[in-house]
């Protein structure tokens, strides 16, 4: 009877494997209380990479991928800087101007390759790879955590999951501006995924708000359809990679509105107009001198708009770790390094990886790298803790 109950609660292991395995005392106890060795929260490159490594270390990790599995790369059409990420040129759709091609010469034939891999494709591959090595993935949002103590608790609504270690890879989410009209027109002209929604703006006028890589990529994606794209940036220089800045400058459909901020989005049923505020004179030059205001001439102007794409930046998803984990001023998780590894947070057995820690690099590959480190750190922590097993019994 107990065994059938166990089988019911056993999410972690296929029945055949469970029955073939010798059920020793520790194994039995673990199943009874369903204590996972590792729970991973997040499903971007950091979360899935942690899943792959932890799976291969036979930790049978449980991954909460959230309601939007795959993280930010799901909104990117082509990731050009993932090393080794290439595929053969397939369809005519691939042959757009900003895709880099490469001809590979093999002895018997030449092959045209697209340099880059689709964001969703890359993330689906990572997910399948993690599952292949034994990670269990649940597409639900975590609602609460209790991380202090030897056994960590992760809640999804009323369900509770327990684990000896937790890796936090919740990443970052797009920042909304909070200007009037932004919420009202979401999905009706206001959007956050240019790659998804660009085709709806055929021969229309779109505004992209922001000045980083995301904004620049969005602006370029929109030019394939829109007749005009305004890039609205509050400073007088872009913070994007050189190659992307060059593509923006070279694109005749994109006009950059420097030193300009979005103040309001107006319309009836959908977006019709934006209110912008431009500061004449360099805001950049004046930002370190708050005492000097006179050089700044501020001017409001309205412009006709069909779409507004928000790409002002991201903030770490750490709301429900507040009060438990040490966070820095901007809300990023602080990692300690030290004996148990670089991804160790302020709580023993809790590790963090990816954009939720990293305000500096924020790349898919740096996120994946720290996800790998976190899994190795968790594995090491678990092996050191083996002697303490008795205290988990009750």
């Amino acid at each position: 009877m107990q065994l059938s109950w166990l089988a019911l609660r056993d999410h972690a292991q296929p029945a055949s494997e469970a029955s073939s395995k010798k059920i020793n005392y520790i194994y039995y106890l673990e199943k009874l209380f369903m204590i996972y060795k590792l729970i991973i929260i997040g499903s971007g490159p950091a979360g899935y990479t942690a899943g792959i490594y932890a799976g291969r270390a036979e930790l049978k990790p449980l991954v909460f991928s959230g309601l939007s599995p795959g993280g930010q790369l799901m909104n990117t059409s082509l990731v050009e800087n993932w090393p080794g990420g290439m595929r053969p040129l397939k369809s005519a759709k691939d042959s757009t101007n900003d895709i880099h091609h490469l001809i590979i010469d093999k002895s018997d034939k030449t092959m045209k390759m697209v340099v880059g891999i689709g964001g969703p494709e890359l993330m689906m591959n990572m997910r399948q790879q993690a599952e292949k090595f034994g990670a269990e993935i649940i597409d639900k949002n975590v609602s609460k955590v209790e991380l202090t103590g030897g056994i960590k608790r992760v809640f999804v609504g009323n369900e509770m999951f327990e684990a000896k270690t937790v890796i936090i890879a919740t990443g970052a989410e797009a920042i909304m501006l909070g200007v009037p009209g932004e919420k009202k027109f979401m999905g009706r002209g206001v959007a956050v995924c240019a790659v998804c929604d660009a085709p709806f703006y055929k021969d229309k006028t779109a505004f992209v708000i922001g000045g980083g890589n995301a904004a620049v990529i969005d602006a370029i994606a929109l030019t394939k359809f829109a007749k005009k794209v305004y890039l609205v940036h509050r400073r007088d220089e872009l913070r994007a990679s050189k190659i992307m800045i060059k593509r923006v400058i070279d694109n005749s459909k994109i006009e950059i509105l420097w030193n300009t901020e979005l103040k309001e989005i107006r319309g009836e049923e959908k977006v019709e107009e934006v209110v912008l505020q431009t500061s004449q004179g360099s805001e950049l030059a004046l930002r370190d001198r708050p005492d000097i205001k006179s050089g700044l001439e501020v001017r409001n102007h309205d412009m006709k708009a069909d779409g507004v794409f928000l790409a002002v930046g991201h903030r770490p998803v750490t709301e429900f770790f507040k009060g438990q984990l040490e966070l820095d001023k901007k809300g990023y998780i602080v990692t300690k390094g030290g004996r148990v590894g670089v991804t160790q947070t302020s709580i023993d057995g809790v590790f963090a990886a990816g954009d939720v820690v990293d305000y500096n690099y924020q790349q898919a590959i740096t996120a994946a790298a720290t996800g790998c480190q976190a899994a190795l750190d968790a594995e090491k922590y678990l092996s050191n803790k083996k002697g303490d097993y008795e205290k988990y019994k009750n």
Partner: protein
């Protein structure tokens, strides 16, 4: 599997349907739509007695998407008696879609 609606059969299959209908506006090139696809298929199977659940490729069927002001995908619109009753943009996970279906079914 979810049915595929087109501009041509939309009136017949959606507006004139006896049961409520959920239409998932999506496209091949949209990442979040790819995540939604298999979930929409599952829900179509699970609710096949109570609701018609189908997909509409906005690439080939611009008229209906335009008529209903779909400017962001994935967007689901739920119809009852030929009228739009609910709408949601963005990928919201199985629970999110299910909540919307239950709301329309009054469950």
């Amino acid at each position: 599997m979810a049915v595929q609606f087109t501009d041509q059969d939309f009136e017949e299959k959606v507006l004139k349907s006896d049961k409520p209908v959920m239409v998932d506006f999506s496209a091949e090139w949209c990442g979040p739509c790819k995540m939604a696809g298999p979930i929409i298929d599952e829900l179509a199977e699970e609710y096949k007695d109570k609701m018609v659940i189908g997909k509409m490729d906005v690439d080939g069927n611009k008229t209906i998407a335009g008529k209903y002001g779909v400017m962001s995908i994935p967007t689901v619109i739920l119809f009852k008696g030929g009228e739009e009753v609910e709408r949601m943009s963005g990928f919201v996970g199985k629970e999110g879609y299910e909540n919307l279906i239950k709301k329309v079914l009054g469950e």
